[in-house]
């Protein structure tokens, strides 16, 4: 009888029986994988709410005039849609779910550096979410400022602003704590032999992201606190009637919120850098260039916030400077795109579902990025600012970039996370419908914006009717695709075929552990001798 036959198999983290039972075994677990799944399930709930609000807004816009809601309801819907999508889903999204689950495994560690702090960050996240969402039900009506809480309206509106702003403030702490945890984990817990330039690209992306989380988030925290003080004590930071400067609010808000775009997109780029070499069966082209471009995006991304304020009345010098810097930040993003495409050149590509998501990511992210170049040009921005063009642009970046990468990551790592495979046919059908719906929804908005349709209005003039019908139909199609994708995954998590250890023939460390992994990931800490994408 062999040694392995004598020993009972190590239980997976899903089966492991700790001190607590039932739901308490999850909400009090310090295991990084369970915390990653806690974030996933929480986000699924919040995403359902925010996506429903988005769909209802598109239904309102299917015809001019009032269709299913009035102006005030529409205003509160786009505010809650934005707050939920940005602060509860896209900013924490990939780092909190896949970073928590896979960062320690990919660098050969048993957990993050501070497991209790990790659980604490999820609790802060949930507390912040409840505070923010309570704004809908308490006080004098749901907030109607949009997710940016622009001054002076945010302290003059009679709606229930304080919980929304306080919720966003609290959520910032969750982001900071997670970022800090990841920085320390990457510095201190890499497996022996995993030098910096042997580290996979997803952990590299998380590293760049974590620095932004730690350094930029406190700025928005203080800014939102200043809004609270302005509203309650009338101090005069931003109120012009008290000697304040409303443009200062915009500076402070975007000093965080533009780097926050990179908090959203850098991990997405990390995911794509994992998926492409796995399914191209090739070493990634330009590993060093991708690493350097990740850090360059994280750094230069701090100095481009002013492009959100081109029509605010900033000085000419500031306008030119921000415009130039905006064009500069496109360079490292383009480096990544070229490297991914070069990796695919002459590769034996395996067209599995995660690769298809990554491929769609390249398409939609390119549209988002190139439309960003249009908005970065001062002369064009003056015409397009606050039109539907901007809405289309950032949905192509945020939803098209982060969203496609999120679902790509989910399909890529699903067998590892749940130990089961999903139905590939339904997954591909869902993706095809989602992709078609996505483009049908957002492409007409570029046209609408160029022809002058402003954003954030529940109504429009008759000449915008046609493209709006197409866009609203696209929303319904996209939601249909989304339902198919999510239903397939939820069903497969219980009933899918058992997954192998390495179903995609990947080379990074997560494919060397069981599916799903055991509590401590590795029986013994691995010694790394090879490059992460060694397919030669």
């Amino acid at each position: 009888m062999t040694e392995t036959m004598k020993q009972a198999p190590t239980p997976s983290f899903l089966e492991y029986q700790g001190r607590f039972k039932g739901i308490f075994a999850w909400i009090f677990s310090t295991d990084h994988k369970r915390i990653g799944l806690l974030y996933l399930y929480s986000m699924l709930v919040f995403f359902s709410i925010a996506a429903t609000l988005g769909l209802m807004m598109k239904l309102e816009l299917i015809a001019p005039g009032r269709t299913i809601m009035g102006a005030q309801t529409y205003n509160s819907f786009f505010t809650l849609h934005g707050i939920t999508m940005i602060f509860l889903i896209v900013v924490p999204g990939l780092p909190a779910v896949f970073g928590n689950f896979f960062l320690p495994i990919m660098i050969g560690a048993k957990d993050v550096a501070f497991p209790k702090l990790n659980l604490f960050s999820w609790w802060i996240y949930i507390a912040g979410a409840f505070i923010a969402l309570s704004s809908q039900f308490l006080g004098d009506g749901a907030p109607d400022t949009g997710w940016t809480f622009y001054a002076p309206y945010s302290f003059r509106t009679g709606t229930n602003m304080l919980p929304a702003v306080t919720g966003a403030f609290v959520l910032g702490f969750s982001s900071i704590v997670t970022g800090l945890n990841f920085i320390v984990t990457i510095h201190r817990l890499r497996a022996p032999g995993m030098k910096w330039m042997k580290m996979p690209l997803f952990p590299w992306a998380l590293y760049g992201t974590a620095w932004i989380q730690v350094l930029a988030t406190p700025i928005v925290g203080i800014t939102l606190l200043m809004v609270v003080l302005e509203r309650t004590l009338q101090i005069g930071f931003f109120d012009p009637s008290l000697g304040g400067d409303p443009i200062l609010y915009q500076h402070l808000f975007w000093i965080y919120s533009h780097p926050a775009v990179y908090i959203m997109i850098l991990p997405a780029m990390g995911v794509i850098s994992e998926i492409i070499p796995t399914f191209a069966r090739k070493t990634i082209f330009g590993y060093t260039a991708i690493v350097v471009s990740t850090l360059a995006i994280a750094f230069v991304g701090y100095f481009v916030w002013g492009h959100h304020m081109f029509t605010s009345g900033m000085s000419g010098v500031a306008l030119y400077t921000f415009s130039i810097l905006t064009f500069l930040v496109a360079i490292p993003s383009a480096i990544k795109i070229f490297n991914w495409v070069a990796t695919l050149h002459k590769a034996s590509i395996d067209l599995q579902t995660p690769f298809l998501w990554a491929f769609c990511f390249l398409f939609v992210f390119m549209i988002g990025g190139l439309s960003g170049m249009v908005l970065g040009a001062l002369s064009a921005n003056v015409h397009l600012h606050d039109t539907a063009f901007v809405v289309a642009h950032f949905h192509y970046i945020v939803f098209g970039g982060t969203g496609f990468a999120f679902f790509g990551a989910l399909h890529y790592w699903f067998p590892k996370m749940f130990g089961r495979m999903y139905d590939k046919s339904w997954a591909n059908i869902g993706l095809a419908i989602f992709f078609t719906g996505f483009n049908t929804l957002y492409l007409p908005m570029f046209y609408l914006g160029i022809t002058g349709m402003p954003r954030r209005y529940y109504d429009y003039v008759e000449r915008f009717h046609g493209p709006n019908i197409v866009s609203s139909m696209g929303a319904m199609l996209m939601i249909t695709g989304l339902i198919i994708v999510i239903t397939n995954l939820v069903r497969s998590a219980r009933h899918g075929a058992k997954a192998e250890k390495d179903p995609w023939k990947g080379k990074t460390l997560e494919w060397t552990v069981d599916s799903p992994p055991s509590l401590e990931n590795f029986e013994e800490i691995p010694i790394v001798t090879q490059d992460p994408y060694d397919y030669e």
Partner: protein, 95 residues
């Protein structure tokens, strides 16, 4: 130097001295507001704030006794903040 095993490398007397200096700077930053320095009043307040921050970073946060890489990282972050402020003032100075 690893794993915080140098936690008591600094004498308590040093901490007390730093604390007293910090208190002196705090009272000085309040006291200097009694003198009319015109446009330089903010500069004066900032100088005291910077001096206090340096003391806290060096002694209470152990940068003086830790590996130089931590001091470099901190300096990098301060540099980043300074550039952000500088870029912000491209608006205010030329508006």
């Amino acid at each position: 130097m690893e794993n915080g095993q140098h936690a008591h490398i600094v004498k308590y007397k040093t901490f007390v001295v730093v604390l007293i200096v910090l208190l002196v700077f705090t009272f000085s930053s309040v006291g200097i507001t009694q003198i009319d320095l015109g446009v330089y009043s903010v500069t004066a307040a900032l100088i005291f704030a910077v001096l206090k921050s340096i003391l806290v970073l060096m002694y209470f946060m152990h940068l003086k006794f830790d590996k130089k890489v931590y001091a470099l990282m901190t300096a990098g972050i301060i540099l980043l903040l300074m550039i952000v402020i500088l870029v912000t003032f491209l608006d205010y100075l030329y508006r």
